[in-house]
C-alpha cells in the first residue's frame, strides 16, 4: 500500500519527465503513453483512497518528506486523476500529429504528478515542492505555443505572480521551524509558538490566495487563458487553482487557531466570489468569462475554509463539483475554438447546434455552473453557505449575491452558444488553438460526456445521507441547510440564469455581424466606466505594473548604473590613485631624493675642485702658502697657551 502511494506520485512525474525530455522523438507514442499512465494513476488513486497509507522518506535534518492519504486527500487524488484522464483523453484527439506532443503530454503528466504531491503532502516541505513544480510546469504549459511573444509574456506574468505569492510558503516554513513545529507537519501548525503562528498563517494564506487567483491576485488567471484549452481544463479548473483552496481547507484548524485568519480568508473569498463574478459577466471572450468564473467559484471554496470545520465539507464538495464542471466547460470551449476558430462570445452563436455533443454537454455544464438545482454546484454551495450562515449573516448574504451573479454569467455564456448563428465567418476574431482540428472526434466527446454526467450526478451531495457520509469521510461536521436556504439559493440561481440568458441574447441581437471592440449597449443600467473596470479585471494588473514592476525595473537599472559608476568607480579610482602616486613618486619624489644624493655628490666634487686650487705649480706661491700656514700655526700656538 505504501508502495502504491509512492507509485501514485512517481509514475506521472517520471513518465512526464521522460516524455518531456524525449521531446519530438516521443511524439508518436506520447498520447497513448500519457493516457495509459493516467489510467494507471486513477487506479492507484482508487487504491490509496481505500487503503489510506502514510509514507515518509528522510529528506532534511529533522524534516522528512511525508505523504499521506486521509479523507480530504482521498477525494483530491481521485478528482485530480479523473480530470487528468479526461483532459489527456480529449487532448489525444485534439493535439494533431504535427504538434510537439511529447513536450505537451510530458508537461501535463509532470504537472499532474506535482499536484498529487501537493494534495498528499503531510508537511510544508513536500507541499512546497509540489507547489513550486506546479508553477514551473504551468509556465511551460501556458507558454506552450512559444513562438507567439504574447503567449510567452502571459505565461511569465502568471508564473511570476504565483511565485511572488509562493514566498508566503517559505515564510511559513521558516516560521514553523522557529515555532518548534515538529517536522513542519501541517496538522501540527496550530501548535506553533507565539508570533510564529501568526507568521505561518499569513504565509500560508498569502500563498493560497495567490495560487487560487483570489483578490488581489486574480489577474494572472486572465493571462493564463493564452495557453491551450486542455491546459486550462486541467490547471485552471481542477488542479492548480484548486490547490490554494485545498490548502486552506486542509489548514482550517490553523486559520481558526490564529483568530484573524479565518475571518480574513472568509471575507476575501466572499469578495472574490462577488467581484470576479461581476467581472465574468462583463467579459466578451468565452475563455475569459470561464477564467473569471473559476476565480469566483474558488472564492466560494475559500469562503468555506474560513467558516470553521463545517465549511470544509461544503468547500470540498464545491471543489469536486467545480472541477468536473469547469474542466468540461474549458474542454468544450477548446473544441469550439478548434472547430470554429473563435472564442468570442458574439461569434459563437449557433455553436451548440454545430457540434451537438459539445453543445449538450456545455449546456449541462453551464446550468450546473449557474447553481441550478438539483445539480452539483447548487448542492455544494448550499452546504458551504449553511456553514457560513452559522458564522456570519453578512457572509451568507455576500455568498448568496455571488451565487446570483454566477447565474448571470452562466446564462450569458449559454445564450451566446445557443443563440442565432449570425453569419460571422469561422476563424474571425479569435484565432489560435490547435491548427487543423475542424472535427470533434470521439476522443474529445467521450470525456465531455463523462464530465457532464459527473457534474450532474454529484447533485447527490444535496441528499442528507450522502452529505453526512461525505462529511464522515472528511472527518468534518456536515452543515444542514434549511429548506428556505435551499429555496433561496435555487430561486436566486434561476433568476440569475434567466436574466443572464436575456442579457446574452439581447446583446447578440444588438451586436450585429461586425463585432465592435467596445461592447454594444446592454439592456441593463451599468455605466460604461464600471463595465470597463470589470471587463479589465478590476485594473489590479495595471496598478501592479505601475507600483511594483516599473519601479523595480527602474531600481534595477539604477543600481546597475550605480554599480558601474560608483562601486566600480571607487575601485577604478583606487587604481587611478595608485597610478597617480606612482607617477608622483617617479617624477617628483625620486628626482628629489636622487637630487639630494646628487647634491651631496656635487658638493663633494666642488670641495675637491676647491682643494685643487692651491696646486698651481708656482714655487713662489708655495713659499707664500707655507709662510701663511706657518704664521697661522704660530698664532694658534700663542693663543692656545
Amino acid at each position: 500500500m505504501t508502495a502504491l502511494l509512492w507509485l501514485l506520485v512517481a509514475l506521472p512525474l517520471g513518465a512526464g519527465a521522460v516524455l518531456a525530455a524525449a521531446g519530438r522523438r516521443a511524439d508518436r507514442v506520447a498520447p497513448a503513453f500519457a493516457v495509459a499512465v493516467s489510467v494507471l494513476s486513477l487506479a492507484a488513486a482508487g487504491a490509496v483512497a481505500a487503503g489510506r497509507p502514510r509514507v515518509e522518506a528522510p529528506f532534511l535534518a529533522g524534516i522528512p518528506a511525508g505523504l499521506a492519504v486521509d479523507g480530504l486527500s482521498a477525494v483530491m487524488v481521485l478528482t485530480v486523476t479523473a480530470v487528468t484522464l479526461a483532459v489527456l483523453l480529449s487532448s489525444a484527439g485534439e493535439v494533431g500529429p504535427g504538434e510537439a506532443r511529447g513536450r505537451f503530454f510530458g508537461l501535463m503528466l509532470l504537472f499532474a504528478g506535482a499536484m498529487l504531491v501537493t494534495v498528499t503532502a503531510t508537511n510544508l516541505v513536500a507541499l512546497l515542492i509540489g507547489w513550486e513544480v506546479m508553477g514551473a510546469t504551468s509556465w511551460a504549459l501556458i507558454g506552450f505555443w512559444w513562438r507567439d511573444p504574447r503567449r510567452v509574456r502571459a505565461a511569465t506574468i502568471a508564473f511570476l505572480t504565483t511565485r511572488a505569492a509562493d514566498l508566503g510558503l517559505y515564510l511559513a516554513a521558516g516560521a514553523a521551524v522557529a515555532g518548534g513545529v515538529h517536522a513542519l507537519e501541517l496538522r501540527r501548525l496550530p501548535g506553533a509558538a507565539g508570533p510564529w503562528l501568526a507568521l505561518a498563517t499569513a504565509g500560508i494564506v498569502l500563498a493560497a490566495l495567490g495560487k487560487s487567483a483570489q483578490l488581489p491576485f486574480s489577474f494572472w488567471l486572465s493571462h493564463a487563458m493564452q495557453g491551450p484549452s486542455p491546459v486550462s481544463a486541467l490547471l485552471h479548473s481542477a488542479a492548480m487553482v484548486a490547490a490554494g483552496a485545498y490548502l486552506l481547507l486542509r489548514v482550517e484548524p490553523l486559520l481558526a487557531a490564529s483568530g484573524w485568519g479565518a475571518p480574513l480568508v472568509a471575507w476575501v473569498g466572499a469578495a472574490t466570489a462577488l467581484l470576479l463574478g461581476a467581472v465574468a459577466v462583463a467579459q466578451t471572450d468565452l475563455k475569459q468569462l470561464l477564467a473569471a468564473s473559476t476565480s469566483s467559484q474558488i472564492g466560494f471554496m475559500v469562503l468555506a475554509a474560513g467558516v470553521g470545520a463545517a465549511g470544509v465539507t461544503g468547500g470540498t464538495m464545491q471543489l469536486v463539483a467545480h472541477a468536473a464542471t469547469k474542466s468540461l466547460l474549458f474542454l468544450a470551449a477548446g473544441a469550439w475554438l478548434g472547430a470554429l476558430g473563435t472564442q468570442r462570445l458574439d461569434a459563437l452563436g449557433g455553436a451548440a447546434r454545430r457540434v451537438p455533443a459539445v453543445g449538450l454537454t456545455f449546456a449541462a455544464g453551464a446550468l450546473t455552473l449557474a447553481g441550478l438545482p438539483p445539480l452539483s454546484i447548487w448542492a455544494a454551495k448550499d452546504q458551504l453557505l449553511a456553514a457560513a450562515l452559522s458564522r456570519s449573516p453578512g457572509l451568507y448574504a455576500a455568498g448568496l449575491a455571488a451565487a446570483a451573479v454566477s447565474g448571470l454569467y452562466a446564462g450569458k455564456a449559454l445564450a451566446a452558444v445557443t443563440g442565432q448563428a449570425d453569419g460571422v465567418p469561422a476563424g474571425a476574431g479569435g484565432g489560435g488553438g490547435w491548427p487543423g482540428t475542424r472535427r470533434v472526434g470521439a476522443a474529445m466527446t467521450a470525456p465531455l460526456v463523462a464530465l457532464a454526467a459527473a457534474a450532474v450526478a454529484l447533485g447527490a451531495f444535496a441528499l442528507p445521507p450522502v452529505a453526512a457520509g461525505f462529511a464522515r469521510l472528511l472527518g468534518a461536521p456536515a452543515a444542514a441547510p434549511a429548506w428556505w436556504e435551499r429555496l433561496a439559493s435555487a430561486a436566486l440561481a434561476t433568476a440569475g440564469l434567466l436574466l443572464g440568458i436575456a442579457l446574452g441574447a439581447g446583446r447578440l441581437g444588438a451586436a450585429g455581424p461586425a463585432p465592435a471592440p467596445v461592447p454594444a449597449p446592454v439592456p441593463a443600467p451599468v455605466p460604461a466606466v464600471l463595465r470597463g473596470w470589470l471587463a479589465g479585471w478590476l485594473g489590479v494588473e495595471g496598478a501592479v505594473r505601475r507600483l511594483l514592476v516599473r519601479p523595480t525595473l527602474a531600481l534595477a537599472r539604477g543600481l546597475a548604473r550605480f554599480d558601474d559608476r560608483v562601486v566600480d568607480g571607487a575601485v577604478r579610482g583606487a587604481a587611478a590613485l595608485a597610478l597617480a602616486a606612482a607617477r608622483l613618486s617617479a617624477t617628483r619624489l625620486e628626482p628629489a631624493l636622487d637630487g639630494a644624493v646628487r647634491a651631496v655628490a656635487g658638493g663633494a666634487r666642488r670641495l675637491g675642485a676647491l682643494a685643487r686650487r692651491p696646486q698651481t705649480g708656482r714655487l713662489h706661491q708655495y713659499y707664500a702658502q707655507a709662510a701663511v700656514a706657518l704664521a697661522a700655526l704660530i698664532i694658534v700656538f700663542v693663543l692656545a697657551r
Binding site: A21, G23, R24, P58, F59, L60, A61, G62, V125, L128, I129, G130, E132, V133, A136, W139, A140, G143, W146, R147, D148, P149, V152, R153, T156, F159, L160, R163, A164, L167, Y170, L171, A173, G174, A175, A176, V177, A178, G180, L184, W196, L199, T552, L553, L555, A556, R557, L559, A560, D563, V567, D568, A570, V571, A575
Partner: protein, 509 residues
C-alpha cells in the same frame, strides 16, 4: 591517497609541458583522462568516508613538517565540509575538460594550466594549515589570471589584471589575519585543527575584531560580497567558458569555505559579536545582486551577478549561525548545512550555465540577449538544457538549489526574520530575471545576431547549431547531479550535517 588526488593533475601538467610535440587533441584527452581518474579517486574517498563515518578525524589525513620554525606543516585532510567541495571540484574540472575537447587554440598550454588550477583548488579544500591554504589560494589566482588573459575574449588582459590585483590584495588581508592568529596562538602554529582547538583571541575583543576584519575582508573579496564584487562581472564576461565555469564553480567557493573552515571555528567570539554584520552583508548581496542582474542585457554578465546573489544566501546562513538567541541549535545547523549545500549546488548549476553561455558565444559571437530570439526552434536541445539550468538556478524544487535555499531560509528566519524576509525577495527577482532571459533568448520570433565589424558569426550564415556531443556530455551530467541532489539529498546531507553541527557547536563555545 589524498595527496595523490591533489598532485596528480599538476604532475600530468608538467609531463604535458615537457612533451614539445604533443598535439592539441592528445593534450585535451590527457586532461580528460586525468580529471576522470581524479574524480574516480574522489568518489572512492567519499565512499570510504560515508561507510566508515568521519567521527571527528579528517579522512585521508596526512601531515608532514614544512617550515617547522614557524609551525607550518603540510597538513591535509577531508571532513564533511571539504569532501563535498573536493568532489565538486573534481566533477566540475572533468566537465570542463570534456567541454574543451574541441579546443584548438594552444590546447597543450590550456590543458596544463587547468590541470595546475585543479591541483590548487583541490589542495585548498584539503588544506588544514593556514599557510598551505594561503599558498593554494594565491596560486589559484595566478592560474586563473593566465586562463583569462590567454584564452579570453573582449578585453581579456584588462579583466584578468583587475581580477588578479583585486583578489590578490584581498589575499594579502587574509595573510595579515592569518599572521594575527599565529601570533595569538599559544603555542604558535598555523595549523587549522590546532587553532580551532585553542580558539586564540577568545577573550581578546580588540585583537579578535581586527583579525576577523582582516580575514573577513580577504574572504569577502573572493566570495565576492557587495561591495567587493566588481571584479567579477568583467572577469566572467571576458573569460573563456571553461574558465568562467571554474571561476564561478570552484574559486568563489574558496571564499565561502574559508568562512566555515577558518573564520567561524577559530574566531567564535568575534563571529558571534559581528554575526549581524555578515547577515546584513549577505542580504544586501542577495537583493543587490539580483536587482543588478535583472538590469543586464549581456547574458553572461547577468549570470555573473546571480553568483553574487547566490553567495549572499551562504553569507546569510553562516551569519545567522552566529546568532545564539532566537534560533535553536536545529535551526542554526540547518542554516549552515544549507550554506554548504548551496556551495555545492551553485557550483554545479552556475558552472553548467557558464558552459551553456560559452555555447551561445561559440555560435553567435555575442552574449547580447536582444540579438537572439526564438532559438528554441533552431536548437531545441540547447534551449531545453538552458531552461532546466535556469529553473534549477532560480531554486525550483527537484534541484539542489531548492534544497540549499530552503534550508538557509528556514534556518535563518527564526533568528533574523526581517533580514530573511528581505532575502526572500531575491528568490522572486531571480525567478523574474531567468524567465525573462529565457524569453528573450529562446522564445518568440526567430532572430540571430547580424554580422558586424567583419566578424561573421556562424549563426548568421548557417543558423544556430544545436548541442554537439561533447557539449552535451559536459553540461548534462552537472545538471543531472543537481537533479539527483534535489530529489535524493540524503547522500550529500549525511556528510554535511555532522560537520555543520560541529561548526555550530564550535561557534557556541
Amino acid at each position: 591517497m589524498l595527496s595523490i588526488v591533489i598532485f596528480l593533475p599538476v604532475a600530468v601538467a608538467l609531463v604535458l609541458l615537457a612533451l614539445p610535440r604533443a598535439a592539441n587533441r592528445t593534450a585535451i584527452r590527457a586532461w580528460v583522462a586525468t580529471s576522470a581518474v581524479d574524480a574516480v579517486l574522489v568518489v572512492a574517498l567519499w565512499w570510504r568516508a560515508a561507510r566508515a563515518g568521519l567521527d571527528g578525524r579528517p579522512a585521508g589525513e596526512a601531515s608532514l613538517p614544512w617550515i617547522p620554525t614557524v609551525g607550518v606543516s603540510y597538513h591535509v585532510g577531508l571532513d564533511g565540509l571539504s569532501l563535498p567541495l573536493v568532489a565538486l571540484t573534481a566533477g566540475l574540472f572533468l566537465a570542463c575538460a570534456v567541454y574543451s575537447l574541441r579546443e584548438t587554440h594552444r590546447a597543450r598550454a590550456f590543458a596544463a594550466l587547468l590541470l595546475f588550477l585543479e591541483t590548487t583548488c583541490l589542495g585548498l579544500f584539503a588544506a588544514l594549515d593556514l599557510i598551505l591554504f594561503f599558498v593554494f589560494f594565491d596560486l589559484s589566482i595566478v592560474g586563473m589570471y593566465f586562463v583569462i588573459a590567454g584564452w579570453g575574449h573582449g578585453q581579456p588582459a584588462r579583466a584578468a589584471l583587475k581580477f588578479f590585483l583585486y583578489t590578490f590584495v584581498g589575499s594579502l588581508a587574509l595573510l595579515l589575519g592569518f599572521i594575527g592568529l599565529y601570533l595569538a596562538a599559544e603555542p604558535r602554529t598555523f595549523d587549522i585543527v590546532e587553532l580551532t582547538r585553542q580558539a586564540p583571541l577568545a577573550g581578546n575583543a580588540v585583537g579578535g575584531t581586527l583579525v576577523l576584519l582582516a580575514v573577513a575582508v580577504g574572504l569577502a573579496v573572493k566570495t565576492p560580497t557587495v561591495p567587493f564584487h566588481t571584479w567579477l562581472p568583467p572577469a566572467h564576461t571576458d573569460a573563456p567558458a571553461a574558465g568562467s565555469a571554474i571561476l564561478a564553480g570552484v574559486l568563489l567557493k574558496m571564499g565561502t569555505y574559508g568562512f566555515v573552515r577558518i573564520a567561524m571555528p577559530i574566531l567564535p567570539d568575534a563571529w558571534r559579536r559581528f554575526a549581524t554584520v555578515f547577515v546584513v552583508v549577505g542580504v544586501v548581496s542577495v537583493v543587490y545582486g539580483a536587482l543588478v542582474a535583472l538590469a543586464q542585457v549581456n547574458f553572461k554578465r547577468m549570470v555573473a551577478y546571480t553568483s553574487v546573489n547566490h553567495m549572499g544566501y551562504i553569507l546569510l546562513g553562516v551569519g545567522t549561525a552566529g546568532i545564539l538567541a532566537g534560533g535553536g541549535e536545529q535551526a542554526r545547523t540547518l542554516a549552515v548545512t544549507g550554506a554548504v549545500t548551496q556551495m555545492v549546488s551553485h557550483g554545479l548549476i552556475t558552472g553548467a550555465l557558464f558552459l551553456l553561455s560559452g555555447i551561445l558565444y561559440d555560435r553567435g559571437r555575442t552574449y547580447d540577449m536582444d540579438a537572439y530570439g526564438g532559438l528554441a526552434g533552431e536548437a531545441p536541445a540547447f534551449a531545453g538544457l538552458t531552461a532546466v539550468a535556469a529553473f534549477a538556478s532560480l531554486g525550483i524544487p527537484g534541484f539542489s538549489g531548492f534544497i540549499a535555499e530552503f534550508q538557509i531560509i528556514t534556518g535563518s528566519l527564526g533568528a533574523r526574520p526581517v533580514a530573511t524576509s528581505l532575502a526572500l525577495l531575491g528568490i522572486l527577482i531571480t525567478a523574474a530575471l531567468f524567465v525573462w532571459a529565457l524569453q528573450r533568448l529562446f522564445l518568440g520570433r526567430r532572430r540571430l545576431p547580424s554580422p558586424d565589424a567583419g566578424v561573421v558569426p556562424a549563426a548568421a550564415t548557417g543558423g544556430f547549431a544545436d548541442l554537439r556531443p561533447h557539449e552535451l556530455g559536459a553540461v548534462a551530467p552537472l545538471l543531472l547531479l543537481a537533479l539527483v541532489i534535489g530529489v535524493a539529498p540524503r547522500f550529500l546531507l549525511d556528510l554535511i550535517q555532522p560537520a555543520a553541527r560541529a561548526v555550530v557547536g564550535l561557534i557556541a563555545r
